[in-house]
Symmetry: D2
Subunit: 430 residues, 4 copies
């Protein structure tokens, strides 16, 4: 039995108020799905087994280069963060794993492991950080890290990644995610070719150190913090990296890291087809890497991504085993609330994608009946699967309505008493 | 005689090494322009009279939400910043005015005025800041400022703007620039209509307080720091604001604040045509509000903007009197160097635009000879006017090659000895 | 009683097969809405009263500059088109009005009126065409129309618009929609200012001729067919036009005519706020003016537009009375099917927007509870209102499932026998 | 001695009027370049040896889906087109090769060869067309070609490509360019994975038929004519294709085929680095695949592409041998004039890129002196190389000022008398 930071009696009381309506809605939806030849319980069981990792840094209030406006009860360190993550998992039963960021979360690995275990949490992919300078770090990443012109700086960045692997080994992690901000702000500042050669050379050293049962995820991003060119700028470059490194190297897709108008679900399909999809950083965006809550801006796009994932799952695509993680910046909401809802949103789209009548779809595709094909997706997307998600939570002692329950439990007020207030930050621009 | 932070003998020595070649190039260019019916001296005199203001915050190293990597000799306060601005003006003779940002530059106005006067500097538009929380400020701008749902917060933002006007009066400024980050991160978070009503109401209070000989500049921006909607999101909304407020209200155009692919020079033309162009924040961008150095990414776009400005100047468009200011974030260069080159770049495009054969152009336009029309612009753009800029500087005791001269003078090393090192910042994201 | 091109017995038989399930789903949804304090019948009645006009040109297969691949049974003329439109309205009961395009639909107005009346159809806004050359037209629009440098060409374009008004008067239309392709393909080709002056001057002539009870809609578009600049390029310019012309002039919003990433629902809100929203051309797009079926790419965006419309309707915003029209290019589907579904999609989003709990939303907005506010919208969006739409159709003798019914009725095959096959077109590129 | 369609005496007379000024400008530029350690004659010789192919379809007036406004003297067939191409080459001496499009240019290959030879023209890459239906073709490409769901349609598309190779063999072509419009307009219409499998399978058949000394170029494009997804949507997919096919398969880059804001020069660098850059379709764009004249919108971007090409040339990058072709749509200009200027523009940027001080640049890059690095590029870009281009033309009996000479020669008026007027086309939209 693990420790629970929200009193289960609060959860039970909140659930009790909603259970009758939930069961009615679940049965009604079940009946409608039955007419479409779908067993609601089967969907519910799959949803219940679907997990998405929470990033440790996600539980702190995010900001922009203009400002950061911290909320009440900001976590002071990784141990506070683990507690916040535990709350999210207790209510959603969807987020049993936490993804750490080094050096932000640096601490005694054994103590980390114990703290997580106390709440029944485990660890997802390790994230290295060579896009900002850590206190006491000898060489600066101002002009790059793994692709820096200076060999010693590259070695420092390599060593940092190796250290992340070492920590991860203790924690039981099985993957390293490498995202670098390396690039340039001016045409000519960097030689694209030599810069990429240096990057590949450095990554090969890291790859060589990867334990046999680990995976290496590289993440592409079009721009920011570099504003003219970025070394790993798109999936094309990312695919080359994964191919050059070897069988344990895969591409990680952050939904907010693409050019305007790009068809992301198609990139996902291509990476699956060629065995190089490593996983996701889920979030949503309207303009750039806005890091908004998953599904908050263009929910159909998220569904179309899951449509590819479920299709690959059902046809047992070779090597298909993507990691799922949220990666968002919660600037104006309580981060715990945003993560609760975003985890549910990811599950929701998984559920909706499971409802696609794939046999009918394939038939319409073969017949070039574009209208019937697209309506097949829409029918699945439009089905309100909330009763399925809620029932999955209820059966695992999570909350039928996790936000209402979280608010009722007064967790934020409680930690705000213990955790000191944080001064607002004005950041990058001055 | 004003104080000079770069020893004039260094400037003179550097100029001496370049003067012969410069005069030869100036004469050669003069001969070629003469064939096109253009007097090089007339162009040079216009360029010499063309100024662009430097933003006080621009002399500090900029950053992103991911990190800020300070350089050596970062200015400690507004007085250090004024010294850096003085260096820029000494070498370029193009930037006699500084634009302040309150509260960042808050200090005794009379002392500010004296310090600036010492270097022959004056003050351009005042900039208010209600997009980040200042120390000790009672109410937070987390959810907006001039458009906030809370009347007291709006009043605080109004009062801050009124204070900026008061400071500006002492300093001899003649304009207030208002840029707010207000908006929303989620559909539904804000009611677009009520939010804009509140904004207009607040702006009317500020406008009412504007001295008779001042102008009010409002600045639009598509996104960031708000990532779903922004109150003053584009020139359409900005135009409505300027119209609603009155004759002293104008639109300010920051070149990096538009949607992808937008034709900015056309927006400039429209604002001129309807008497509402207030001025510019010059910079360049490839993706979003990248705040890169003016002309560094798409120099032809900057030229096309100046083509509209010179056209308006030459036809004496009614009410045409734009303010020019640089607004950039110098993340990987010495900010003084970037500002020197950017001031030159703005002058350069002004010079190139002056070379357009407008009579021929109008003829081609009337005849729908698209090819000849566009070549008329290209001919002007392709002319390398560097000798004109250099001669204008030389004649005013500035530097023929300001960057080489700046480096030769060792200013940065000198201030680095006095000004303490600044720790790198990790910013918005955690 | 009007003529029916689909045998009502086919409709009735198809409906009979679906009625029991529909009533069960309608009741179940009614019960769930009741818990949220919403009367399903009230919603249904509003939906039933909501109409969207069909464009005459929409019933022909569309194409691109690369090719057009006609389908079977392409309408030969406006009379065939009216028949196709009648089928759409018979099955959906949502599209009683047709919008004509002159000169494409030029015919004896009285005969047009009779033909439409036979099927119970009326006429929506008249659309003029000065973006392509009509056979026998003396002057070409190659270099523009209402903004052309040549006065005679402008006059020809003016006259054409006046003729459209005359035809419309006979038909009972009450609005003229003006979209022009005028712009330029090269920097310098056109003088932005003089071009816009000419446009405004020409539009004033047209406006002066507008009957007292008519409205004039001008439509903005970022690009295409002009690829460097467009005269009416965005809502800012469009707003100026409507303001300059007068009280009967309004802005028309085509959802596919904006820059990437632009927040369209906010533009809609601004135009409503300042009394200048004329109406819509509904469609969807992923890249540019793709003219895809409404709601097919980003359904949430369409919902957010309707969220603004319903909000304005419920608060009785001054002068709010938008026209609704579909404007799509059906390149790979049967155009009748696409228009049937798109009409339903527009109704669907209207229905979903009616479900928004506006009182709760306003409260969350005032409290800056971004998460609860956005979830209020999502709850409404996620509700599957298909039973409401279907019931509204059933009660008006339309089809519960209009696509299945249309296919069952064999209309396309029937007209394909009468209407000759059309050769595929290769178009703009050669 | 080849036939000349412009009387050489006209060329000579025009040149004579300009020669004195040209020599003076060439010498003056030579002196300035000499100071930078550059021999102007060496640059001129390289420029003179630089060629770019002209597309046969480029000499006809282009259009959009809204309209096509033909000019006077439109070429009636491929033999007229070859004459227009000959004029371009006679005046520019930069375009000795023509790229054909089958079936548009289908004719007896031997007659084609003779006609071209008469003017000293040769043939560049063959272009197949499976994006529109040809008269008499049994199966339609409405729903795709090489990736069609129907095997017979795929085979028809394969056969067409094989036929292009056969024709090319006779003509002396050494490459086949394959661009397909295959994709989808609706989510779900196509299965991304199966569609791409079919495409690869079909391409392998074509590849197998490629003569030993030929190259296969595949061209990616983000969208249009498909508006939701495109099979070969970006360089990532294109790179996979080239890798899957084999050593003779390369990626072709059309500058207008990318997402907004994408860094194209970086894609070029990556393809060079991994040995897969096949060549270019040069043009410029502001919004999408606008097919505007090369360098007309963002000339610096074109320079940055050439900066990569010259860098690869100078470091003798392995397998580097790109094909150069113009691919533009001339909607409002005389196509011959646009192609003349565009060929010059391509040469111009090659010349400018040759002026980059690469040793200094590498030094600044290694030292992370971003400002000096980017200024190194700017210095090269700003140099007006027109005298070099003109001298290269003069020395080869081309025209110093090709546009003025073309106009003086009256070619267009002459062919307009022979070639009948073409009716304006309204195209895709109805």
């Amino acid at each position: 039995m693990t420790d629970q930071l929200i009193d289960q009696s609060v959860v039970d009381a909140e659930n009790a108020r909603r259970e009758i309506d939930l069961r009615r809605d679940y049965d009604s939806l079940g009946e409608r799905l039955d007419r479409r030849g779908i067993s609601i319980d089967t969907i519910k069981d799959k949803v219940a087994a679907f997990h998405v990792a929470v990033p440790s840094w996600g539980v702190g209030t995010g900001g922009t280069r203009f400002a950061r406006f911290p909320g009440k009860g900001e976590p002071r360190d990784i141990f506070d963060k683990l507690e916040d993550c535990a709350v999210i998992n207790q209510l959603t039963r969807a987020t049993p794993n936490v993804s750490l960021h080094i050096p932000w979360d640096k601490a005694d690995p054994n103590r980390l492991k114990q703290s997580a275990a106390r709440f029944g949490l485990g660890f997802d992919a390790m994230n290295s950080n060579t896009f900002s300078d850590a206190k006491g770090q000898p060489l600066s990443y101002k002009f790059g890290s793994l692709s820096h012109t200076d060999a010693a700086t590259r070695q420092q960045a390599i060593d940092h990644n190796l250290e992340c692997i070492e920590i991860g080994k203790v924690l039981g992690s099985k993957a390293l995610t490498v995202w670098i901000g390396d690039g340039s702000n001016f045409p000519g500042q960097a030689d694209f070719t030599r810069q990429f050669e240096r990057y590949l050379e450095a990554m090969k050293v890291i790859y060589a150190d990867l334990p046999e049962d680990w995976r290496l995820f590289t993440e592409h991003k079009m721009y920011e913090p570099a504003f003219y060119s970025t070394v790993v700028q798109d999936w094309g470059t990312n695919y080359i990296i994964a191919t050059e490194l070897g069988d344990k190297a895969f591409c990680l897709v952050d939904l907010g890291h693409h050019a305007p108008n790009v068809n992301i679900e198609m990139i996902v399909a291509r990476l699956i087809q060629f065995g190089k999809l490593g996983g996701f950083h889920f979030n949503d965006s309207k303009y750039g890497d806005d890091d908004l809550d998953a599904g908050s801006i263009d929910p159909y796009r998220l569904f179309l991504v899951f449509n590819e994932l479920v299709s690959a799952e059902e046809r047992r695509a070779k090597g298909f085993n993507p990691a799922h993680m949220l990666d968002q910046s919660h600037n104006v909401t309580d981060p715990i609330e945003s993560l609760i809802l975003s985890a549910a949103e990811v599950q929701r789209n998984y559920a909706n994608a499971l409802l696609v009548d794939r046999k009918a779809l394939a038939g319409f595709q073969d017949a070039n009946d574009a209208l019937a094909a697209t309506q097949t997706l829409k029918t699945a997307f439009r089905t309100d699967v909330e009763p399925i998600l809620a029932m999955a939570r209820l059966e695992k002692n999570g909350a039928v309505d996790p936000i209402a329950t979280y608010r009722a439990a007064g967790y934020r007020a409680r930690v705000a008493e213990i955790r000191p207030e944080v001064a607002p930050g004005s950041s990058g621009i001055v």
